[in-house]
């Protein structure tokens, strides 16, 4: 009996010792950028492209002398696309690796789980994913779109050009899915349209049978979906196509690259993005060439998640240089004031920590390429965080 206690004591001691050894923090001669990202789970489709664009930004900055003379070092951690994994990833990045800043594209669940840790540690956090909006923290900055910017082009196009009067909404049941569709419903009704149905499935759900049947029986003019990226997006699209649904289909959660891998199933789908590979600017061309050169055959198509990530790293550089240090408080103060002209144009996170953006409405063509149908200049994110 006593033995077991002794073993217990021993084990605990060993663990404690292990921890002590791991904790020997080295003096920092680099700028550490923490990237918690969904290498597994729902975001696993897009995560590799985000890592790639981060690597390019780091390489370019290092080649040009680093940030304040220090080399940039990326620390990537898998957040499992969920709250649990995000807590682990944020904990290890913030407290173990002691990064200077967190810059990442994540699911809303992961962001919400990580945010308390960021706040506790007082680190700057640039959240580079488009999201459902209205998440506010003095430490968090968002260079990507929110529903106010993204939904309007789709709904406007459906009502004005395609003369759609009735809509059906399908989403994954999580912050992003619900947030996007709530805004969409409100905006559709503002525009005089009618929403015939709004249905959700949990993020790990894959059987859309009854929702699709309901959709068919209600026979709306257009469909707008907002699922989690990855598996739910794929299963829903496959089952929609299998069921022969052919009404105009706006997908709020798909990016160019994913649309391409989905093949024929994605054809004719409408997407609304702040980045398209076809943007004709010198910055975009330079970016695409550099990506192609660096990754070659391994290249994941740059997209609306990976490009903001690239720009965010430059924005951090600008802020640190403006502040003259990588001290968290100074950087946070400087971040809204700096701007960077990247593949998406001039980016400045000056609107309550959010960013006015140029939006593109595109349609997927045969073979997966996206044709830009309309461009909306400098769309304002609206009142996201009035207290900031």
């Amino acid at each position: 009996m006593k033995t077991l206690q002794r073993i217990g004591t021993l084990g605990f001691g060993t663990l404690a010792l292990m921890g002590a050894l791991m904790n020997s923090a080295a003096a920092q001669s680099t700028v550490k950028i923490g990237i918690p990202v969904g290498l597994s789970g729902a975001n696993s489709v897009v995560a590799p492209s985000v890592v790639q664009s981060s690597q390019l930004a780091a390489d370019e900055i290092n080649a040009a002398g680093g940030i304040l003379g220090k080399k940039v070092e990326l620390v990537v951690a898998d957040d499992g696309s969920g709250a649990q994994g995000a807590q682990r990833a944020f904990n290890s990045l913030v407290f173990q690796d002691d990064v200077d800043v967190l810059i990442s594209m994540e699911t809303s669940a992961a962001r919400n789980a990580g945010l308390p840790i960021v706040n506790r540690a007082g680190k700057p956090f640039i959240y580079t994913s488009f999201y459902e909006g209205r998440s506010c923290s003095p430490n968090m900055f968002v260079p990507a779109w929110v529903p106010d910017q993204q939904v309007k082009p789709v709904v406007d196009h459906f009502t004005d050009t395609l003369k759609a009067k009735t809509f059906y909404l399908i989403g994954s049941d999580y912050n992003f899915g619900r947030g996007m569709l709530e805004f969409t419903r409100k905006y559709i009704e503002e525009r005089g349209g009618r929403v015939l149905g709004e249905e959700y499935l949990p993020m790990d759900g894959s059987d859309w049978t009854s929702i699709i049947s309901d959709l068919r029986s209600k026979n709306p003019n257009a469909l707008i979906t907002s699922t989690a990226g990855g598996a739910p997006n794929v299963t829903l699209t496959k089952q929609l196509r299998n069921a022969g649904i052919k009404i105009p289909y706006g997908n709020l959660a798909v990016d160019e690259g994913t649309a391409k891998t989905m093949g024929a199933d994605a054809t004719d789908m409408f997407i609304s993005q702040s980045y398209m590979t076809g943007i004709a600017s010198a910055e975009n061309k330079k970016f695409l060439d550099a990506m192609q050169k660096k990754f070659g055959g391994e290249l994941k198509t740059p997209n609306d998640l990976s490009v903001p990530q690239y720009e965010a790293i430059y924005l951090y550089k600008a802020a640190a240089e403006k502040a003259g240090s990588t001290d968290a408080e100074d950087v946070i103060e400087a971040l809204p004031e700096v701007s960077f002209t990247g593949p998406r144009g001039n980016i400045q996170m000056n609107k309550q920590h959010h960013t006015p953006l140029t939006m593109y409405l595109g349609q997927v063509k045969d073979g997966g390429s996206v044709e830009v149908i309309k461009t909306f200049e400098n769309v304002d994110p609206g009142e996201q965080c009035p207290n900031l």
């Binding site: 489709v45 049941d173 009854s210 299998n242």
Partner: protein
């Protein structure tokens, strides 16, 4: 209404196809294979590999079955055989096996969603509306599978041996039946069916390392409710699958997701032997 009926029939067919492999193993070996979900996933990846190499999507099913059979025979030898006398431990060991398989898949293919070409897509006009042709094909597949399995059990030497082992293993061994071989073949067959099922459902799903997992618990419940018999499984799939579709349609798709589990727990409380017995 017609659509609803088709939804029920096709959902039941999918459940039947997916659960058949689990039932064969439980029936003959009295063993609950919690790696079943992982076997489905393996089938999905087999489909991905076959179509990625440019072969016809129709080949995905036999290829998945063949691979599954080999995998099953190996797994039986290494993991399952030592656990025949400890059925509850076997659940845990096969669950662990599922974790291992998922990780091996991640090593080999990465974590992201993969795509497999579908044998056919589009719809067939039925009762005035279009209905997914692949789902309709699944009804036929389920019927054929049910008949084939019945034939296998009642018309072949293997089936005779398997039934002997089901009824009384000691006696069967006394009669000179190599029960170890029967078990190995059964596990191989069960795994083959699971992998083939994985390939059969990929046209409607995404191929990712966890694709089979959501099916595991539902299949498990169906098999127990079936009373471990092929007609019983067909009945269970129809009743519980039907209930799932009805609840999803008229109540909420989220509550629909637990219909099978809850109904199964209730049915088994009332009839512990399942639908086809007592």
């Amino acid at each position: 209404m017609a659509i609803l009926l088709l939804d029920i029939l096709t959902t039941a067919s999918m459940l039947f196809i997916v659960a058949a492999g689990l039932m064969i193993i439980l029936g003959v070996m009295k063993l609950i294979n919690f790696a079943h979900g992982a076997f489905l996933t393996v089938g999905g990846y087999a489909a991905h590999v076959v179509t990625a190499h440019g072969f016809s999507p129709w080949l995905t099913i036999p290829a998945a079955a063949a691979f599954g059979f080999v995998l099953g025979v190996v797994v039986e030898r290494v993991v399952v055989r030592p656990l025949y006398s400890r059925p509850l431990d076997a659940i845990l060991a096969t669950w662990g096996l599922g974790i291992i398989i998922a990780q091996v898949i991640v090593f080999a293919f990465g974590r992201e969603v993969q795509f497999a070409q579908s044998p056919i897509s589009g719809t067939v006009d039925l009762f005035g509306t279009g209905y997914s042709s692949w789902r309709l094909i699944l009804i036929a597949v389920a019927v054929v599978l049910g008949l084939l399995l019945t034939a296998l059990l009642y018309l072949t030497r293997f089936g005779l041996n398997a039934r002997a082992v089901i009824m009384n293993e000691n006696l069967a061994r006394g009669l000179g039946i190599d029960s170890i071989r029967v078990r190995a073949m059964t596990f191989g067959l069960g795994a083959a069916l699971a992998c083939a099922a994985g390939a059969l459902i990929t046209p409607l799903l995404s191929v990712d390392p966890n694709m089979g997992l959501p099916w595991l618990v539902n299949s498990f419940m169906l098999v127990l409710v079936s009373g471990i018999a092929i007609p019983g499984l067909a009945l269970a799939s129809l009743v519980l699958g039907g209930a799932q579709v009805l609840v999803s349609t008229f109540v909420s798709p989220i509550i629909g997701g637990i219909t099978i589990v809850v109904l199964a727990a209730v049915i088994l409380r009332i009839k512990p032997q399942g639908l086809s017995r007592g």
